[in-house]
């Protein structure tokens, strides 16, 4: 049985540039990469694939449009997960994908995954948006069970035992294949590929396909902006006693204390 690992082309949020005055975010300028939690999903897939006796394939549906820059970055991100031990990758890219919401993306991914895979591993949320909606939506599209927030996965015959981390307790569930599972960062420590593994990964099969939206999106983003935080810029002077008193007073007025 083959495993599909969903790898999102996430914005490198550390390199996002923001215009402080207008709140504008320069999305186009920011580089992209494979999200960190996707690396956990990849690690888990590499570990599980031996037990399941099949292949593990990365699937990336890029929402970065179709520019040469984004294409190159997408391939680099896939090379990285391939270097960790995946057997191949599918890259779906095209004009219009950037407008896709999770509904569109899930539909398109379902078409790619149905009939081909027995298990889908995904990150609990993507690094840039972290909506965490996609794996659930995909499971719904496929009509497969969905287990979220896995911190441990064990294969037991024709089903898997999944430990889920919830707010106050852990839950252990059993689920039959086929299934969709999202993992957390606690599940494992992703291996760091070696130079030679990256060199070899560049020769692994990478199948690029054109994206065409299967449906119209239900949700469109009108504008992305950083919330503006106005500083009050109050300076409190005086000796320590006095200043502390005034500070407490000011904080009370703000409703902080």
């Amino acid at each position: 049985m083959d495993i599909a690992v969903l790898v999102k082309q996430s914005l490198d949020v550390q390199e996002l540039r923001v215009d402080q005055d207008t709140g504008k975010i320069y999305i186009e300028d920011a580089p992209t990469k494979a999200g960190d939690i996707e690396l956990n999903a990849t690690e888990e897939a590499v570990r599980l694939k031996e037990k399941l006796g099949g292949k593990a394939i990365a699937i990336m549906l890029s929402t970065g449009g179709a520019s040469g820059k984004r294409q190159k970055e997408a391939r680099e991100a896939l090379t990285r997960v391939l270097a960790m031990g995946l057997d191949g990758a599918v890259l779906i890219m095209g004009e219009g994908a950037e407008k896709g919401d999770t509904y569109v993306i899930a539909k398109a991914l379902a078409e790619e995954i149905r009939d081909k895979f027995g298990l889908v591993l995904a990150a609990e949320g993507s690094e840039d948006n972290f909506s965490g909606l996609l794996p659930a939506r995909l499971a719904a599209e496929l009509g497969w069970p969905y287990v979220a927030y896995a911190t441990a996965i064990e294969v037991e015959g024709d089903h898997v035992k999944v430990t889920r981390s919830l707010e106050d307790f852990e839950e252990v569930v059993r689920v039959k294949f086929p299934a969709v599972i999202s993992v957390t960062q606690e599940i494992n420590k992703p291996r760091v590929p070696k130079l030679v593994e990256i060199v070899k990964a560049k020769k692994k099969p990478l199948d690029q396909k054109d994206f065409s939206p299967p449906v119209e999106p239900k949700l469109t983003i009108r504008e992305l902006k950083v919330p503006k935080v106005e500083r009050k810029q109050i300076v409190i002077e005086g000796d320590v006693e006095e200043a502390a008193e005034k500070l407490i007073q000011a904080l009370k007025e703000e409703g902080v204390l």
Binding site: R17, P31, K72, V192, K194, L195, V196, I198, V199, K202
Partner: protein
């Protein structure tokens, strides 16, 4: 059998050019870059002299991400709140372009990749892999060994590769200068208006004066399409002893430079989008550098092919040309199946009959720029002499000759030595 014919350490201009040329000739090339992407962490002042890159990519500026072609050269003297600017408007024969490294280095690295080189970023090379006194590959982070017939060290000014292969002595801070730079965004039209440029034209402006307080160095401004690169360059040796002191000093001088009335007006309303600092190898240390050994050659800044004129630095064109010479030599070595030092000495031969002559001339100019008076006395005298010439206050004016004599003697310079300074300047150009 080695893993690769060639391993190139560093994807700056030197590394990418060497990778490109060797991959194009059918050799297997692995290029290892420690930054997240080629160029991600690289900086320079702002101008590339195009002669050497043009030999490899004729009319490269038509496709490469260059910013503006430099047609305005400004030399400025700053003294206190006052200043003098000398402006040369020209369409120079030797073309030069302003550019931003993050984009440009990535473009060059892509050229290498397209030619077939494997360019891998995000990996640091720890040291050359040496067996029986011969370089046989690299050791990457995580103690991973990778073998190659020839290693090309293109790892920049600090080059641990050259040092660990015994090609250059351990350097001390006197061997370096340091540069700090800010990129300040301004609308295109504003830049063209303030610097007197038409579309695609660019300005290169250098300033010396009391802002560095006697330390050799000064400030620079280069115009990009929609930003200006502004920064300062200073000698480390004379600057301070601790890294923290150096960075504070750099920051203070940059701020002083930016707030000078003559500079401030260029920047008004601009938005600071990037800050970076980098070291610059001083030319003197070249004496102790060897360019090749068994299985390895050193190119670009790593080999010391960088000239620090005091305020401006020139190294990109030399990095590219040295990489071209090295690629030529390495190609021959690989073809002949002999990659020993003797065979690789062809690299030095090619350089000697070409670039090294240009490099020596450039270095001569540096000898002049070593004169500390250029950074303190001359700017002051220039500003005050012009003030003397132009200001009218109704009082009788001292004649120019006696005014100049007074100015020079205040600075402890005889007129004769001033003339000599001028003569040396002319000769070195």
């Amino acid at each position: 059998m080695a893993d690769f014919d060639v391993i190139v350490v560093g994807a700056g201009p030197a590394g990418s050019v060497a990778s490109y040329l060797l991959a194009k000739r059918g050799h297997t090339v692995l290029t290892v870059e420690r930054g997240k992407r080629p160029g991600a962490k690289n900086m320079f002042g702002g101008r590339l002299y195009s002669w050497s890159l043009e030999r490899i990519f004729p009319e490269f500026w038509k496709e490469a991400p260059v910013e503006r072609e430099v047609t305005k050269e400004v030399l400025g003297f700053l003294h206190g709140e006052r200043g003098v600017e000398i402006r040369l408007s020209t369409r120079p024969k030797g073309r030069s372009f302003t550019l931003l490294r993050a984009k440009f280095d990535q473009w060059l690295a892509e050229k290498a990749e397209d030619a077939g080189a494997e360019v891998i970023s995000g990996f640091k090379v720890e040291r050359p892999l040496i067996r029986d006194g011969r370089v046989v590959g690299i050791v990457a982070e995580g103690d991973e060994e990778m073998e190659a017939e020839v290693v090309i060290a293109a790892d920049g000014a600090l080059s641990f590769m050259a040092e660990k292969a015994g090609l250059r002595p351990k350097l001390s801070k006197e061997d370096f200068a340091v540069g700090a730079k800010e990129v300040i965004e301004l609308p295109k039209e504003v830049i063209e208006d303030r610097f007197g440029l038409s579309e695609d034209e660019g300005a290169a402006q250098l300033y010396v004066g009391d802002l560095t307080e006697g330390v050799i160095g000064g400030g620079f401004i280069y115009t990009n399409k929609e930003s200006v690169s502004l920064g300062v360059v200073m000698r480390i040796g004379s600057l301070a002893s601790k890294v923290s002191e150096i960075s504070t000093a750099m920051w203070e001088v940059t701020e002083k430079f930016k707030s000078h009335p003559m500079i401030r007006r260029y920047l008004e309303g601009g938005k600071l989008v990037e800050y970076s600092a980098h070291i610059i190898p001083e030319t003197q240390f070249m004496r102790g550098v060897k360019l090749y050994t068994d299985g390895m050659v050193v190119v670009g800044d790593a080999a010391g092919f960088c000239v620090n004129y005091g305020v401006t630095v020139r190294g990109m064109d030399f990095a590219i040309e040295s990489a071209r010479a090295a690629a030529e030599a390495v190609h021959h070595a690989l073809e002949s199946g002999d990659t020993s030092a003797r065979s690789l000495s062809k690299y030095q031969e090619i350089l000697s009959s070409g670039m090294l002559r240009e490099f020596e001339t450039a270095k001569k100019a540096v000898d002049l720029m070593e004169d500390e008076r250029l950074y303190s006395s001359i700017p002051k005298i220039a500003v005050e002499t012009l003030e003397h010439l132009f200001l009218v206050d109704g009082k009788p004016k001292e004649n120019l000759y006696s005014f100049l004599r007074k100015e020079f003697s205040e600075e402890g310079i005889s007129l004769l030595s001033a003339l000599l300074l001028g003569w040396k300047a002319l000769r070195s150009m």
